[in-house]
Amino acid sequence: MLGKLDLSAIPLSQPIPLITSFVVILIAVAVLILITAKGWWPYLWHEWITSVDHKRIGVMYCLLGVVMLIRGFADAIMMRTHQALAIDAPGYLPPEHYDQVFTAHGTIMILFGAMPLVLGFMNFLVPLQLGVRDVAFPTFNSVGFWLTASGALLVNVSLFVGEFARTGWLPYPPLSETTYTPGVGVDYYLWAVQISGVGTLITGINIVTTVLKMRCPGMSFLRMPVFCWTALASCMLIVATFPILSATLAMLTLDRYLGWHYFTNTAGGNPMMFVNLVWAWGHPEVYILVLPAFGIFSEIFSTFSGKPLFGYRSMVAATLFICIVSMMVWLHHFFTMGAGPAVNTFFGISSSIIAVGTGVKIYNWIFTMYGGRVRFEVPMLWSMGFIFTFIIGGLTGVLLAIPPADFVTHNSMFLVAHFHNVIIGGVVFGIFAGLEFWFPKAFGFRLHEGWGKVAFWFAFIGFWVTFTPLYVLGLLGMTRRLQHINIEAWRPWLYISVIGVGILILGVISQVMQLVVSIRDRETLRDVTGDPWDGRSLEWATPSPPPFFNFAVMPNVEGEEAYWGIKLRAVETQQLSPEPKYEPIHMPVNSPVGFFTAFFTTVFGFAMVWYIWWLASVALVAAFVGFVVFAWRDIHEFEVPIEQVASVDRARRAAREALLEKLTRQEVLP
């Protein structure tokens, strides 16, 4: 009846997951009680859970990402402290638990932390920047988000019920085959990542279609903000590579569940095929994450320098260049497999060539600042921190792309330091810069500047104190994923790294404080103009937060930097453009289909993990029925009456009049 599931799946003998489970369940129950007591359910259900508004979905993506970043960070704290305590000592995590921690850390940080945040930014920003009212497929957008959330939920359920994979975040066979890892851990991994991967693919298709087919009048390709270009490149990579992940995981699933032989080390299976396939997804995945971050930095450098982005076409070319080349470099993750010098040379050079694209971008950002009026507000601090950190990370990356150098640094702590250097320095700094930058757009008030600066400095210094020792450890010959250590020479560096983690914890606390303080002081931090940073692209033309229909009248773009042009003309003529003729707007109706689908796929995934076949079948049928019911609905859109459109837009225009006066008085514009 319950498959493999019984009481022994609850980790009663292990205090860490048990206490964590207990606390998390307690918090969850408390939140549910609070929501019920306050009567917030209808609001949550109508405004968020069933919402098909791209901004709401973007915010929910970011919320999911932030929560999972904290979960992944907790794993990171455990890894660093455990290793420091496990020098000639057992430490506090036994191998079978420690192995789960580093696997969960990698999986969560990449797939459930960084990915949702990046997708959240794309969801929130792309339609606003393109001057349209929604993405191409609003309901599918909701499905995509909820599937990602479903995967994240499964990963976290594994903490309470059963175990997570102990194989590393990419479960290399034969280790991940049932022969060597018989537990449910790998199965949790497979279903969680498979389900969220489908969600990501849906969002990828959605954004590609949106960028290519839904732009406001006049928004030709070379007038799009660079963020839209990077979102397009990133989503094209999603469309091209996430099916590879789906296929690879499906094959491993067949091996594990039905005893097939794709990757086994018996009966002709080929484990190296897994390594090739998974990195054919895994390397582009890195660029799926970092390209939108590049887009965020481009917007920030340009806005806070008060100048257009330098070499816009160059930036677009470099983005597409990286997008294409990133699919031709996967073998650099296993030069040490012995593929031969010709193959290694090809992939070594193609990997280094990516540095041309990123190098061009770095120089273009520098020249964007040249001749500008650079304002060092918090997003700009993150961006400067990024330039420094990412250049060093790029340097060590190219070192690892040189096969003979990789032969002594592969899988070492040097490698660990390198990819944290680019992923934290590139993606995470980009995400924090972006959160800081667009928070007022999403919520209508700025984040507290002082706490933001404190958070940046803790994160920046903490990062370097944590990861510089790891570079050294790598050169000392320390490999990754060691549960205990018996080399005395490594001790001081592991201790320094823990100090760095302490500083990073202060950084995280500062960020939480920033949020708390900002919510408390939200009235003084209120953004009444809709344009708090003197922005240049169309999202700043809307009020903060934007109305659900984004634009009362679709803007007509007449040049690059659409909103900057509108603003400039207003200042020159000392008046806003004449009030447009308002028309009723048609918006898609909310739909619970995403939530229902994700609910049933979660049940399905859980049932599959525990071999509860009847429940899996029921869940699949229910998901299909849900879709048919959805497909049967008769009303797709509702009409926003002219009066509502007009009143929202008149309020916006009044705020713009005030902004216009302020701009004229300050002579901010040239």
């Binding site: 191409a136 497929f137 959605n206 007038r223 091209a240 032989h261 048919v628 797709h636």
Partner: protein, 231 residues
């Protein structure tokens, strides 16, 4: 052909541009922005274009999915682990019937869409039914093939080659089966709701899906069965 003094390539481009019947660009060349095409000058595309476009992108991703299973088959083709080789398991006559059924179903699928364009509910339904029937024939034949192989002890658990064979062919069979479910849903929808815009959009997507499965099958037929029977 008049001599214009231009280099041949420029001349060729000029002629292509001036050709009013050139493929894909009839309605919206660069000089003549058309509303609803989604080309930047005129704002978002019409719903019909967006839906079709999005579905094309999904199909591309599905082709990538199949490519991985093709790649796995190419890698594991020789890994028979003492079991049967590919030439010992292919049964060309049956596959020929399967292929015929599937190709015919693509043809009837196209006819159903022609009927949809003529807004003939009866003929749309009839041709969709025939399409579904041919798809069912295909799936049943494939199932029969798998069952017969299993009866001979030829299962995916035997070797890497058989794993990749059953994986690739089975994935396609699964797609056809899901396509059949979709088709059944569409039959009901057309019957109940008639040719509303969203129903027509779904019919377009279904057509694209069904034809794509055909193309994938031609790849499987050639690479797995025909080339397999040669060795």
């Amino acid at each position: 052909m008049t001599y214009t003094g231009l280099p041949a390539s420029v001349e060729a481009i000029r002629r292509v541009r001036e050709d009013p019947h050139r493929l894909g660009h009839r309605a919206h060349g660069p000089e003549e922005p058309v509303a609803g095409a989604g080309h930047g000058e005129t704002g978002p595309a019409r719903k019909r274009i967006i839906v079709g476009y999005g579905f094309w992108i999904y199909l591309l991703s599905d082709i990538v999915l199949f490519s991985c299973f093709f790649a796995a088959f190419a890698v594991l083709r020789g890994a028979t682990a003492g079991g049967p080789t590919i030439s010992q398991i292919v049964d060309i006559p049956r596959v020929a019937i399967e292929t015929t059924a599937l190709l015919l179903s693509s043809y009837t699928c196209m006819l159903s869409f022609a009927a949809t364009n003529a807004r003939s509910r009866l003929w749309t339904q009839i041709f969709l039914l025939i399409t579904g029937f041919l798809g069912l024939v295909f799936v049943l034949l494939e199932l029969q093939e798998f069952i017969e192989l299993a009866a001979r002890g030829i299962t995916p658990q035997v070797s890497g080659m058989l794993t990749s064979f059953f994986g690739l062919v089975g994935l396609h069979g699964l797609h056809v089966t899901l396509g059949g479910l979709w088709l059944a849903t569409m039959l009901a929808q057309v019957q109940v709701k008639g040719f509303r815009p969203e129903i027509v959009h779904r019919l377009i997507c279904f057509n694209l899906f069904w034809h794509a499965l055909d193309i994938v099958w031609i790849g499987i037929f050639t690479i797995v069965y025909l080339l397999g029977s040669l060795t």
